[in-house]
Amino acid sequence: MKGLVPCNVVNLFNPWVPRPFLSSGKILVLAAFCSVAADRSRGTPPELQAADTKAAKTWEQEFAARKGWWALQPETDSKPPVVRDEAWSHSAVDRFLRARMEAVNVVPAAMAEPRVLIRRATLVLTGLPPTPEEVNAFVTAWSRDARGAYEALVDRLLASPHFGERFARHWMDVVRFSETNGSEFNYDVPFAWRYRDYVIRAFNGDVPYDHLVREHIAGDLLPQPRRNPADDLNESAIGTAFYRFGEVSQQSCVEFRIVGFDIADNQLDTLTKTFQASTVACARCHDHKLDAILTKDYYALLGVLRSSRAVQRTLDGPAANRAPMERLRALKQQLRTALAAVWREEASAINAESFAKLSSAAPPPVGDPLHAWHALSKVPAQGIAETWSKLAAEQAGASAAAAEFNRKNFTTLADFRSGFNGWTTDGMGLRDGTGRSGDFAVACEGGSAVKAVLPAGAFTFALSDKLNGALRSPPLKRTQGNVSFEVVGGHNSLARLVFNNCQLSAHQKSLHHQDWTWLTVPFPGGTDDLHPYAELMTFWDNPKFPEPQGDGTDKDSGVQRGTWSEHAKNPRTWWGVRRIVMHNVGEPPKDELTRLAHLFEGAPPASMDAAAARYAQIAQQAVAAFAADQAGDDEVAWLEWLIKRGLLSNRADASPKVARLIGEYRAVEGRDLSLPHMMPGVADEGAGFEQALLARGDIMKPGAPVAHGYLEALSSPAFTSKGSGRRELADLIASADNPLTARVMVNRIWQWIFGVGLVRTPDDFGHLGEQPSHPQLLDHQARRFVAEGWSVKKLVRALVLSRAFQSAAVPTPSASERDPQNTLLSHFSARRAEAEVIRDAMLAASGRLDATLFGPSIDPYREQPDRQSRLFAGPLDGNGRRSIYIKFQLLEAARFLSAFNLPGGKVAEGRRDSSNVPAQSLALLNDPFVIAMAEAWAGRLVKDGGTSIDTRVEAMFQTALNRPPSPAERARVGTAIKSFASQHQVAPEGLLASRAVWKDAAHAFFNFNEFIFIP
């Protein structure tokens, strides 16, 4: 009885399910037993209770028994069986199928007609109907050499770029592809569409499946990632975007600790269902009720996932922007010299008069060098030296007090004046490392020459604020209640703390500060197990941009209720950081005013002129240091002050040379510097951590930590790597030795071709799933899949070339009688096409189809946008793009498509429902998209030069159904068309030119069931 679902009575009674030989009487006994035993609410019958206690297995025995489950055994090496009907059996696949039919005397259906074959194959392989020309060419070729013509057809379709679109959409159901995170605010998953394009390219390029698996699980960790030859972007890393789909709450993970655990749980569930058809997530609270999956396994894997951060990642390789950045660096060198030349003269010209212009009624703040000048200007000439000495003493005192305050109250988390210090970076703006003091940023627009002279620190905008950058800390240990960032920045850049990988929580401050500022984010306690980290980002790197919640201080835009591109229209976004500290006191570090010490060095000046000379001297020294690229932080502060006070000019045309260099700099920056290419993904940053086993899944009850690892039932070793362990996990899953990986994918592909898998539950190969209808066939194909280099295209080709795929859709009498479910595949099970195919077929028939591949998604149609929920109004026809390019939003599915069973996007859905409800009829009858497509088609029809209703009807049949009408159909449709005409009061002579009439005809064709069927 090994391998039998104990309580799946359906299977027991299904004579076509393979099983050890049992008499029907025994099955009845067993079924009766199962129906009692399976229903715990009835209690265990007394006779079984006794047996229960006697035969109670230890857990070890139970687990050993569970490990015997069919899907956990290596694939059997079954040879295709011998069949009587050699002629039928084109391939190994056919032999397995035919043998089973022969065993129960089921006669297979005849071969399908060529018109059916090309329609079926084209819809199955590309999701689009063939054109009438393609059909005619095929029918002609088929009449000469049926097999040759069909093979050529299949090869043509496999080579079509639309093959990738079709199979990508299937795959996206499995990984719960979604372009927004739903919940309340429906945040974007920014650039999720790059993942869609990646999958399309992967299927078109026939990337070996094991490699695709590796890229999904750990594409960011591969030593030699694939790069897209077209744009040199990192292709492998895009696979990891699949972790980021599904529902993500924006709730604070500190307040609602479960949020982050639920996100990781959903990732774990998707990963194990997608690649292993295993319901590991069922072991969150207890060992799996039926399968060989331990709670320990769940937490071993949860540790892997929680150790992986959710990040936006830059795909650009080191070569991207290399030349323009090199050019900008060189220009900056020249600009330094040119600016220094202007400034040198200006600095030496500083005198008392220069300051007269700057005088103000109120005293400037102590930190302003003008404070001293202001004080001097209020005393008589003889008091100048004394006042100066007093000011010097004050400054020294204030400096000392500030230094003492800072020393006492702050713990430095990071000081970027001396490198990144173990923090991780991403983005082109941080490619040059941290900056030495004395660097400067050129103003890339406006009338200024310099955006800022930079002290030592980390800056994304040293070359251009079009370059992106993210900086992330190692896990932080909280010892004090606040984190303060010493920053400059603007245009939607952000500083924040992240807890428990909840990328949408809001422990953040937005940056809109031209001058150095300390921004403080509270650091709540009791959060060590949420593995917090600090992060600084330009908007490119920000997974929650645009920010519909705002944060009350976001001066860039307040709450952001527009699309990503609307808010990113100005691509300039930038930040710089010097230090990050932790503290309990209610204020950030004080300014230590060290730059002023220089002013007060030496004997006090005795006159205003002498004082002015002191300033001039400092200015000259600062400019000289700048010219020599040796300016320290204090000199940088002086330069910034001198520029701000207009003592040094900052005009983009300060000199002809400056003007020329700025012009060239801006030209290169504007023209040659490309914007970053981002994707949502995950990253290993710093050491991973072991997840504590949570008793009954209760996050408040952490038990012993579990080492990173995979399923014990697959004899997986504990992982040894320091990071998340995703690399090791990828190797264990993307392996020919893993008994599930190949079987699961072969079954999925089988389902995509035939409509139903050999295992009807593609996401669950466990006890709650179904068992394979043809286990040897499944194993045979799985082994072959691996042997052929995990080639999806080769497998698809074999299945589509099978005789079984080419059968007519009508069952023979023996099949209807003995195999009504068509488990034996004696005929092709015609099926309703998926939502996307229906919509795409309408676009194709109407001539509105834009067959362009790839690119950002189109917002689905909506009458009015709902900006609060980030649901925007797209065009009714989606610009004619295929349905795979319509944005897949969690909060609301695309209107027309949703009537035809779209997946939910929250959990893996390897098999779509194909319900049949009045809502579908209502959509076909009344949806504005359908009506618009009928209008478009009618527009083309009335221009076709057709001379009779019959010829036009003939053409419509060819376009929509790929076949000519029967005489009865011609008459029936013709009659209806005449009726449309009379209802529109169109006279017979005006009929052929009436768009209204042909719109109705087109609309009727879209409503034919045959139009939405894969025959």
Partner: protein, 469 residues
């Protein structure tokens, strides 16, 4: 029923659906004759597989199933446990780390029957004399998805038909212009997903139709064409589709699509009319709480009112879901019990009581069975004071109207509310009882697939006779 047209004539309980009554009820709708002819064809071809019953005189014509997803706490609503209050905070006998948790709500006796109801449901409490409260309900597994499957389909796993589909299959519809099985939803599905409410292996004409609380109740319900033009198209479609089905050697999918097209066309005409709330009196709106400030209360009131109108229109089985809360189920309070159970009760209490009273006033309660149930109850013990976990071993549901004895409390749990100990009923028993009241013998209501006759109640189910009127 004034103002509602074209609604069917009221049919007496147990009156079989005859061709004559159908003609009467649908005579004003378009294409009736064509549809009727089609229907005859289908009946002939499907050899009686279309509907089955009734097997005997029904007590109820319609069912309104008020589904409380997530699991309502029985010891906080209909099953008071003084012992629990006494031992509050002490380690439970089940597990030492779990402590007894007393109900944060006071109980009182209500009505002539003196049935106990907690202060969570002040309005429902005024209806106790119409209710049969079953305190000894038993489900199976403490998991939402399997619990929802079991409650709806009688089976722990996805794939079986739901109660509403069985009812529609068993009795057909009283109104051919509307689906027989309607789920009044808030746009989200319960744990377990669409298969919880699906028609499983039953013909897809018995699949549920979802009616949203907000916006257009059904997408695309407004016809794009004038009626006559649409009729021309529908006739053309029927011809083409019938040929296509024949080409495939008969196809259930195509045949049900043909039926759906006809049904959709008729729904277009009728749904807006059936749902038109503007004809309700101010008193009725008030009764349900249609103008409550809280949108969830308001929308739940609307769905309950619609349930009544759909009963009037002859819909066989109407499920009313709860407004959304936690994804696992709105009543799933592992924590925040006090706050969230109160919130859920506030959203639903008034409208449910209004529904019972309104049906009563209109003389419809006798022929309408109301079932109030979640997939399980909640534990009387918990690791933390303000929450309870899943509890299938004993919990409460109630039934009302449609041949149910009012003012009855049936069965009991033990002193702590853990195990059902007296007159224990399981979900099969509940299903058998519902079918019984509809005039269906749960042992005879079968559908053959995969070589076996399937029942909603599998090999179990006993009608709970003590609660029958």
């Amino acid at each position: 029923m004034s103002g509602l047209s074209p609604l069917p004539e009221p049919q007496g309980p147990g009156r079989p659906l005859t061709r004559r009554s159908l003609l009467q009820s649908s005579a004003t709708s378009f294409g009736w004759l064509a549809f009727s002819a089609l229907q005859q064809q289908q009946r002939a071809s499907a050899a009686g597989a279309f509907t089955q019953g009734p097997h005997f005189a029904p007590r109820a014509k319609s069912v309104i199933f008020l589904f409380m997803d997530g699991g309502v706490s029985h010891v906080d609503t209909f099953d008071p446990k003084p012992e629990l209050t006494k031992r509050d905070g002490e380690p439970s006998t089940v597990n030492k780390s779990r402590k007894w948790v007393k109900s944060p709500w006071a109980f009182a006796q209500h009505g002539q029957s003196g049935a106990w109801v907690s202060e969570l449901f002040p309005q429902i409490a005024t209806c106790v004399d119409d209710l049969a409260i079953v305190r000894s309900m038993k489900a199976d597994l403490p998991i939402h998805s399997t619990g929802n499957f079991k409650l709806h389909t009688g089976h722990n796993l996805a794939g079986r038909p739901s109660l509403g589909s069985w009812a529609a299959y068993g009795l057909g519809t009283e109104n051919e212009n509307l689906p027989g099985y309607i789920v009044l939803s808030f746009g989200h599905l319960p744990a377990g997903g669409s298969e919880v409410i699906s028609n499983g292996f039953l013909p897809s004409s018995h699949a549920p139709t979802l009616l949203r609380a907000e916006g257009a109740p059904i997408e695309n319900i407004v016809p794009a064409d004038p009626a006559a033009l649409q009729r021309t198209k529908l006739d053309l479609l029927r011809g083409q589709d019938t040929d296509f089905a024949a080409q495939l050697g008969g196809s259930e999918a195509v045949e049900s699509a043909i039926r759906n097209h006809e049904l959709a066309a008729r729904m277009q005409m009728l749904v807006p009319d059936v749902l038109d709330e503007s004809r309700e009196t101010k008193a009725t709106r008030e009764l349900y709480g249609m103008d409550d400030a809280d949108p969830h209360t308001r929308l739940y009131a609307r769905q309950c009112l619609r349930a009544r109108r759909l009963v009037e229109a002859g819909v066989r089985f109407i499920q009313v879901n709860c407004p959304p809360g936690r994804p696992s189920g709105v009543w799933d309070q592992h924590d925040g019990l006090k706050k969230e159970h109160e919130k859920n009760a506030r959203h639903t209490d008034r409208a449910i009581a209004a529904l019972i009273k309104d049906l009563g006033q209109r003389g419809l309660l006798d022929t309408t069975l109301i079932v109030w149930a979640g997939e399980f109850g909640r534990t009387p013990h918990a690791p933390k004071p303000d929450g309870r976990d899943h509890h299938p071993e004993g919990f409460s549901v109630f039934l009302a109207g449609g041949g149910v004895k009012g003012g009855v409390v049936h069965g009991a749990t033990d002193e702590f509310g853990i195990n059902a100990v007296e007159d224990v009923c399981d979900l099969h028993d509940l299903h058998a009882t519902i079918l019984h009241l509809l005039g269906l013998d749960h042992e005879r209501l079968t559908f053959r697939t995969s070589g076996r006759d399937f029942r909603l109640t599998d090999v179990a189910g006993r009608v709970i006779r003590k609660i029958l009127a």
